[in-house]
């Protein structure tokens, strides 16, 4: 591959190129690693693993030389280059959670998602930057420095899976993994103009993924098309015997005339005009394609942030309790400011005298939020909504005011609280040249419906992924 501009943008293009010998997997890895190096100032990666990348590329080239392969069956990710969020344990490769506490930690085993993607023929390139412990909506809480938005480096890429979104957006890897606890896949996907999936809670194993908030964490991925994100989901989903919340569910398939609901509470004051208008424009695309639109109401939406910022820090304070600096990692003094804040907040809402007022109350309002979605899904198959109230904001803009930063999660956190899937899809750019997009939400285990709708949107708009001019 002579020019990094020739890097393929989808799994299909990659595999066709490999099969037709337009390039080898070795050349592909050369091109990607070269590009990662060229775009170092985006700070998308914490660790690059060239040894592992070339080794796997060699295996892929050998497989292609020796076999006539049925890719879709045995190696759905053959040749697909991967950036793993640095929350995913990778055997023998440093895994930091973007925190100094784990600086130098090398895991003895790999996450189920990592192992399954490798087995499917994927090539790991490195570990992507993120907000430390996945705490943040901007990428600025990383102990390894903030990641920058490839469409405008003065802006944040969103978070917490900042490096993964940037890696895919800037063509530093074909696909990338992420975790979504309150929007950490959908929001950076939205800010960077790529597709991001937050699966149903319990659809993908969390084994080997550093825990943030265990009743909310879900394991998903990024790609430049809905089809690619679907392929990765199909590789990673399902029981592994190591995460008891995972079940091999009966997925809801699209059938008959699909109805999409538009929640009025997601178009309120404080939502950027261009964001709101772009989502309405998307709804017209669906309408034109024969989808019925309905206005719906999710009345408890406004309470989602309070519920989320009680339940989540409570679970964070418990999950980060294991970092004692004894068996691995460094002492607790090495936690950054945001981790300390969340540990404190969580410890406070769980402490004697406050548990009922905060934690128990939040769990009850959580039931109300779930009730909103259940009522909505009695009349519609999916929900169309903005991902974030605004497009990407400037680096530093919200960094000193935690509450302001937390409020940015208002349209993403409800899906985590309800355990339902969400698919974030790009829809163009605002006047300032920053990406716009929308999210589709569905009932638990309705991913196939969301993929169908996402692909329909791409088809109707003749969507083609583009790379930023860097």
């Amino acid at each position: 591959m002579k020019n990094t501009k020739d890097i393929p943008l989808t799994i299909k293009e990659t595999q066709e190129g490999l099969l037709k010998k337009k390039f080898s997997a070795m050349e592909l890895v050369d091109a990607y690693l070269g590009k990662i190096d060229e775009e170092k100032d985006l700070n998308a990666y914490i660790t690059i693993c060239d040894d592992e990348a070339y080794k796997k590329a060699g295996e892929v080239d050998k497989l292609i030389a020796n076999n006539s392969l049925d890719f879709s069956e045995n190696f759905p990710l053959l040749g697909a280059t991967i950036g793993h969020k640095d929350l995913f344990l990778t055997k023998g490769i440093r895994t930091t959670a973007a925190s100094k506490v784990l600086n130098g930690y090398v895991p003895a085993y790999s996450a189920t998602a990592v192992a399954r993607m490798e087995k499917a023929g994927g090539i790991i390139l490195g570990k992507t930057n993120c907000d430390a412990w996945a705490h943040g909506a901007s990428g600025e809480n990383s102990d390894f420095g903030p990641t920058k938005n490839p469409w405008n480096k003065k802006f944040v890429p969103g978070g917490s899976s900042s490096g993964s979104a940037v890696s895919v957006a800037a063509g530093l890897s074909l696909i990338a993994t992420g975790t979504d606890t309150g929007g950490s896949i959908r929001q950076p996907a939205n800010f960077c103009g790529v597709v991001g999936l937050k699966p149903t809670y319990g659809a993908v194993s969390r084994y080997g993924i550093i825990a943030m908030a265990s009743s909310l964490d879900s394991v998903g991925n990024f790609g430049k098309s809905v089809a690619d994100v679907e392929t990765v989901f199909n590789v990673t989903k399902g029981e592994d015997g190591r995460d008891s919340t995972v079940k091999n569910a009966e997925f809801i398939k699209p059938k008959g005339k699909i109805k999409i609901g538009i929640p009025k509470e997601y178009f309120v004051e404080g939502v950027d005009k261009e964001v709101a208008e772009s989502v309405i424009k998307v709804s017209k695309v669906f309408e034109k394609a024969g989808i019925e639109l309905r206005e719906i109401s999710l009345p408890h939406t406004k309470y989602a942030i309070s519920v989320y910022y009680i339940v989540q820090p409570a679970e964070v304070s418990s999950n980060l309790g294991r970092y004692d600096g004894i068996r691995y990692g460094n002492p607790r003094a090495d936690f950054g400011a945001e981790a300390k804040r969340r540990i404190m907040l969580g410890t406070y809402v769980l402490s004697a005298g406050y548990y009922d007022a905060f934690y128990l109350k939040a769990q009850k309002v959580r039931s109300k939020l779930i009730g909103d979605f259940e009522a909505a899904f009695e009349t519609v198959d999916a929900i169309l909504a903005p991902v974030s109230p605004t497009p990407a904001f400037k680096l530093g803009e919200k960094a000193s005011d935690p509450l302001k930063m937390y409020l940015a999660d208002i349209f993403t956190a409800p899906a985590n609280l309800a355990g339902i899937p969400g698919l974030s899809i790009p829809s163009g750019f605002n006047e300032g040249g920053l990406p716009l997009g929308f999210q589709l939400l569905g009932p638990r285990f309705s991913e196939p419906v969301l993929f169908e709708l996402g692909k329909l949107y791409e088809k109707e708009t003749d969507y083609k992924a583009i790379l930023p001019n860097l």
């Binding site: 309470y303 068996r327 039931s367 109300k368």
Partner: protein
């Protein structure tokens, strides 16, 4: 209005086993008060007959056979590979008991 005091913050830090420096205490005290005050909006929601949710997919307890899975288990060496403070295959920790003083 909740207004956390320095003592409140120090108490919570102790529960969470965090040693905070003075500058952190000063910064966290108003920030945490601010966030906790935001939570008061939840009082508007009538939850009189609402059950709390802790698990969203309604899973019942999941059991497995009480059997060691050989495949995927870590060796003793792998299990201690994350620390350099090792003695005879064990983690070294600080003493939590002191010698008897009554003898």
């Amino acid at each position: 209005m909740v207004k956390l005091t320095k003592e409140d913050v120090l108490h919570v830090a102790k529960l969470a086993k965090l040693d905070l420096v003075e500058a952190e205490i000063e910064r966290f005290t108003p920030q945490l008060s601010n966030v906790i005050n935001h939570f008061s909006e939840l009082l508007e929601v009538d939850t009189g007959d609402t059950e709390p949710t802790s698990q969203t997919t309604r899973l019942e307890n999941v059991y497995r056979e009480d059997k060691v899975a050989v495949e995927g288990s870590l060796s003793a060496e792998e299990a201690i590979s994350g620390s350099d403070k090792i003695h005879n295959g064990y983690f070294k920790v600080k003493a939590i008991l002191e010698g008897r003083t009554d003898k």
